[in-house]
Amino acid sequence: MENNPLFKPGHTACAGCGQSLGARLVIEAAGSNTVVVNNTGCLEVFSTKYPETAWNVPWIHSLFENAAAVASGVEAALIYLGKKDTTNVIAQAGDGGTADIGLQALSGMLERGHDILYVCYDNEAYMNTGVQRSGLTPFHTNTTTSPTGSKSQGNIRPKKPMPEIANAHGIPYVATASVGFPQDLQRKVKKAISIKGPKYIQIHVPCPLGWRHETNLTYQIAKLAVETGLYPLIEYENGQLTAVRKVTQPKPVEEYLKPQGRFKHILANPEEIRKIQEIADNNIKKYNLKAET
């Protein structure tokens, strides 16, 4: 891997980019027998500026919303060529390309049962265009289209439950992962690849630019999202919740919010922080995240 990485260094991602870290972890776990279909977004822009490319696997970008559909065509062609059994197909997109504009194509791909792993790099806003809110932007986030003001505390809705939406298709494997837990992430990618049929993995990838945190904090912030219960790491198999990453002693959400400029407006407001704590507490309860002591 060191001599011939599948996702090469030298791309133009920002310092501390969680998505570039996530993409490298995913492709190295999947291996070289993989075709990657990428939607429009940060990852495509910073990894493929012609005539350079960071990809050492066959890789294609078409549009913002159709990675799942293009991947369906790739998979159909591989079946026709008799190469599907030896080739993985990964469709990957950001949160906007997945939960918003690409949801229809994704649902079609999941429903049709293609043997494809769909990876959503969830950095919780449209980062490529300047930090606008998406369907996966968390409650109370300050973005350029959900700005704070005298009448606003930022984004007014919680994250769209994408893992549940994917899971509702009755597909064999759905998981969430985080770049804060790289081994867990790679285990899930390998597991997903080993299962035939449609798979969905949503990976939490901090964005220093959009979240306004120090570039050296990407890993810690990703970990804190899991340790507070705000980003539960879960696995569904054939519709059933089969595994969760236990959180021994859930940390208060404040620890996660504090280093991030996107939540700065509520840090002095305990009432608003309490609402976010409630989201974390609900997750802990819903997925039974708390470890027995």
Binding site: S32, N33, T34, V35, V37, E44, V45, T48, K49, Y50, P51, T53, W55, N56, V57, P58, W59, I60, H61, S62, L63, E65, N66, A68, A69, V70, A71, S72, G73, V74, E75, A76, A77, L78, I79, Y80, L81, T87, Q104, A105, S107, G108, E111, R112
Partner: protein, 395 residues
């Protein structure tokens, strides 16, 4: 072999003979029969193909994009709103230089919603980088699909082809057609061998980010290739003639009694059949009239049009589409063919007819020839109903 077939069935038969490995489509009238037939062929084991039932035309186009990028011949078909919904992907298919053939069952665009024929859908996508061929009858529909794959996959071209056939008039019309045999097709259209493909043995990046340093050149390359298409179509048609017997001449335009003509109508698609009948009737009375049928709308064969019409005194262009707020689309091209030229028809009148399935009758055509005796008109709508206009404007 002569067969009596519905147009849609004819498309499905020739597509089967072209052996696409992946087919994807979403139902829309009047395209549906085409993909229903293909689905049945796959279900019956007559066609070894992956048939992907998608949730939208946007995904149908995306699926065939992915399939061709992986090195497999593919097919899709659509119409009207479906074609517009594909539009974004269609630009990508041509921009990525992926060879493909798609049938467009021409149909009006809403609103108001209308399922009947005109050519507004495909004409609206004239700038998408697709080669567009318009068929007059179902024999041409068959042959243009075969020619289309051959042209599209030519290593010097690598651009997608849209075969346009008038919805219902051709798709649902029964005609006697000569269907090629499999061995003939195999000889004319060898298995698809891609120039480049998604292959783990030789990784490459397709569809990268092109900044201002290189985007312009990518578009220029397509523009230049379209010049080559104008030369390649006649070449392929010559080969087609030697193998199948049918002669499409240069394959760009068809002339019908033009040489000594004093009046010529220019048109595309099935209406050309009606015009030929009108021409025959007038010729029988000694009137020197003719037809210039445009087969290749993109690339547009300007110099062929110039050669054909430069000595004709009076020309009428019949459009089955409009460019709202501007002159009619085909008329603009015909006029452009004479831009800056010394020789030019005295009159180039432009007529719009047949929108939303309004029948273009022999009387309509006679009417157009008659109007060429008057002074030049631009953008005259034929067969308008004054009583409906009154209603619309409250006069």
């Amino acid at each position: 072999m002569k067969e009596f077939l519905e147009g849609s069935r004819a498309v499905a038969e020739i597509v089967r003979l072209c052996k696409p490995g992946v087919i994807s489509a979403y139902p829309i009238t009047p395209q549906t029969h085409i993909v229903e037939e293909l689905a049945q062929m796959v279900a019956d084991g007559e066609l070894n193909s992956q048939f992907v039932n998608v949730e939208s035309e946007h995904s149908a186009a995306s699926v065939v994009l992915g399939a061709v990028a992986t090195g497999v011949r593919a097919f899709t078909a659509t119409s009207s709103q479906g074609l517009l919904y594909m539009a974004e992907v269609l630009f990508n298919i041509s921009g990525m230089r992926l060879p493909l053939v798609m049938t467009c069952a021409n149909r009006a665009i809403s609103a108001p919603i209308n399922i009947w024929n005109d050519q507004q859908d495909s004409v609206s996508l004239r700038d998408s980088g697709w080669i567009q061929l318009y068929a007059e009858n179902n024999q041409e529909v068959i042959d243009f699909h075969l020619l289309g794959y051959r042209l599209s996959e030519d290593k010097s071209i690598m651009l997608p082809v849209m075969v346009c056939m008038d919805g219902f008039i051709l798709t649902h019309g029964m005609e006697a057609v000569d269907m090629p045999q499999q061995d003939q097709v195999d000889k004319f259209l060898p298995p698809y061998k891609p120039l480049y493909k998604l292959d783990t043995a030789e990784p490459l990046t397709m569809g990268p980010l092109a900044d201002p340093d290189c985007y312009l050149e990518a578009r220029f390359a397509i523009q230049e290739t379209f010049k080559d298409v104008l030369k390649k179509i006649p070449e392929i048609c010559a080969e087609f003639k030697s193998q199948f017997g049918r002669d499409y001449k240069d394959g760009l335009v068809e002339e019908y009694y033009i040489k000594d003509a004093e009046k010529v109508i220019v048109a595309m698609g099935s209406v050309c059949g009606t015009i030929k009948e009108a021409v025959d009737a007038q010729r029988a009375k000694g009137k020197k009239v003719g037809l210039l049928k445009i087969i290749s709308y993109r690339p547009f064969p300007y110099s062929r049009v110039y050669d054909m019409l430069k000595d004709v005194p009076k020309v009428a262009v019949l459009d089955k589409a409009v460019s709202l707020g501007a002159y009619a689309p085909l008329a603009v091209e015909i006029k452009a063919a004479f831009f800056g030229k010394k020789k030019t028809p005295k009159i180039i009148s432009s007529f719009v007819a047949g929108l939303g399935g309004r029948d273009i009758t022999l009387e309509s055509i006679r009417d157009i020839f008659a109007k060429l005796n008057q002074k030049e008109v631009n953008l005259e709508f034929i067969d308008l109903k004054p009583e409906l206009l009154k209603e619309a404007y409250g006069e």
